[in-house]
Symmetry: C2
Subunit: 329 residues, 2 copies
DNA sequence: CGCGCCTTCGCTCATGTGAGCAAAAAGCGC
DNA sequence: GCGCTTTTTGCTCACATGAGCGAAGGCGCG
């Protein structure tokens, strides 16, 4: 009763208290009796144990979220909201979780957007599928970038928008044109078409945008669909492109990678996303970290739905040009 | 507000509640406001979440214990007490943890045993080292089985007992004889010696025994020390021996593996352990599961100090010959 | 040895939380 | 539809708990 005191005695006591409290469901009073300390001391020991990370509480569920990361993201990047899901190792699973989370978020958006601008792609399609039937009432949907598939799976772009609208009992306005035109003149001509310009005008009036992003490499849907050749893509990468947002390829600095190509790209511009009341980026997976960085760091989205690895990667990145937040705690 | 109800809605709500409660430290009242349910419902959701294992609380600390397993072990095998430590993958680390736990237990035994019978071996030595200086006052120690090392590291058996006694300010009574004699006559002769029989008599009067166990294979200390030849050991294994307790090799059925050999083994008998007020077995690691089973299932110890894998292995084993305890909860 | 500083302690009190219960709602067989 | 049972809900009340505070104790410096 003389020698072993002071030092780490408290830590051991804290461990015992934690075991009795969390594993044996004893009251702090009972624990006090067992460990021969007052119940207030037990409370303090438990506090210590929590602070020192001896007690680890984890929520194990596919639908779980990482609220702490969400908070950090919104603070750091001035987002309106952030949704972060735990990241399983399996990439397929991860994409599904992120899409599900995006669907959940969409359902809960208040005020309900009367008109929702959407892009297309695998991620967006999964979001559409994850939406419950009747997820809202009377939400109309408008496509914000071109997307007739030139080769395989025709109409997936359209079906995404239609599914989202149909499940909310609303109507979909499609933009049934190629995403990227081969010649500037063709693009201008299509843009001049009353129907097409009408859709784009309508898209500009959307209360919220929902979109994902693609990676700049030869496995991109744009190459797959024939909008870009593998050579085009290599050239883009050489110019610093990290990926595309609604069809427009940007560099890590958030700038258009190739202005000539961009001029031939049909649909909303990046500024419309930046200035929108709500632009929801749905993105997940290691491969998309660079493009996610570019988008988030340059304010192209106001809501981010992602996985925890991507979130951590974003938060770990150097504070960019803006030297504001200093406190590391 | 119509379609998505009933089914898994509660589970999702429970997850959200858990996140807000455990990760954001909100009160159940606040959570109720956020999730638009009453605070009692929040309480029930959290209860559900805990029951279904959505919330996982873990105590991460080298000195942590597994109280649930301890409870199960004492109930299942009628033990007086059980100490179970979390099992790291590394075997060295695991042995150290188990030894530490045994030392902790020894310090807290009440009433304090005036005389403690100890065996020897690597495990016991670690226990001795883990005991704090002055762990008790005036505890005397007596060796319960022979153990002069014939080859390497002479005196470790003695030093273990001495260290335990010295750290408690007590005296050690040694049994400075071989563990196993080559000829029965020699064993009888030594046993007949007043000094030796005096030590063994003293050992019989110990208030508690502290011992470990060895595995029956050619890497055993008994082979290493020259008490047994590799051939002896192979013969023992053929006879069903799974390991030794204070020098005596037993089978999975708890019986002496080789009575002739046993007769040449010096020290306390197994019945003394079985009938003792307190006999503390310290054992850990995968390799020792069989001998641990044999000892625990046949009542040779009343206190068990082990790792969680061994504990689980014991609990998973078929309920033996004794069809008593039926309730699985 | 005495003084002040800082930590730790035990306690009061306001608040948070779970057991238990009656009422309402939801199934369910007919 | 109509009683029946079973589940879910909102609530009262007693208990458990953490914030805050003054007292006690340890520690270093003069």
């Amino acid at each position: 009763m003389a020698a072993t005191d002071t030092a780490a005695t408290n830590e051991l006591l804290a461990v015992r208290a934690a075991e009795l409290y969390y594993e044996e469901n004893k009251t702090q009073d009972e624990i006090g009796a067992i460990l021969r300390v007052t119940r207030w001391k037990v409370g303090r020991l438990l506090q210590q144990a929590r602070d020192r990370g001896i007690i680890r509480i984890e929520i194990v569920h596919p639908r779980a979220r990482r609220l702490a990361l969400e908070r950090d993201l919104t603070a750091r990047f001035g987002l309106r909201d952030a949704i972060v899901v735990p990241g399983p190792a399996d990439d397929r699973e991860l994409q599904a979780r992120v899409a599900e989370a995006a669907a959940d978020f969409l359902v809960s958006v208040r005020p309900i957007p009367r008109l929702l601008g959407v892009s297309w792609g695998r991620t967006l399609h999964q979001v559409a599928e994850s939406l419950p039937e009747g997820w809202s009432t009377g939400v109309n949907v408008v496509q914000i970038n071109g997307g007739v598939s030139l080769s395989k799976r025709p109409g997936t772009a359209a079906s995404t928008a239609v599914m989202i609208a149909q499940k909310a009992g609303g109507e979909a306005t499609l933009l049934p044109t190629p995403a990227i035109l081969e010649r500037l003149e063709t693009k201008r001509a299509i843009e001049g078409d009353r129907t097409v310009s009408g859709v784009i005008d309508r898209a500009r009036g959307a209360a919220a945008y929902l979109y994902s992003a693609g990676v700049a490499d030869t496995s991109s849907v744009h190459v797959d669909s024939g909008y870009l050749t593998p050579d085009d893509m290599r050239s883009l990468v050489e110019k610093g492109a990290v990926g595309d947002v609604i069809g427009r390829y940007i560099t890590a600095d958030g700038a258009i990678a190739d202005t000539e190509l961009d001029a031939r790209t049909l649909g909303l511009g990046l500024d419309e996303l930046r200035d929108a009341a709500m632009s929801i980026l749905v993105i997940g997976g290691e491969a998309k970290h660079p493009i996610a960085h570019a988008i988030v760091r340059h304010g192209l989205c106001s809501v981010l739905v992602t996985d925890e690895h991507t979130a951590r990667s974003l938060l770990d990145s150097a504070p960019d040009t803006t030297p504001s937040g200093e406190d590391p705690s």
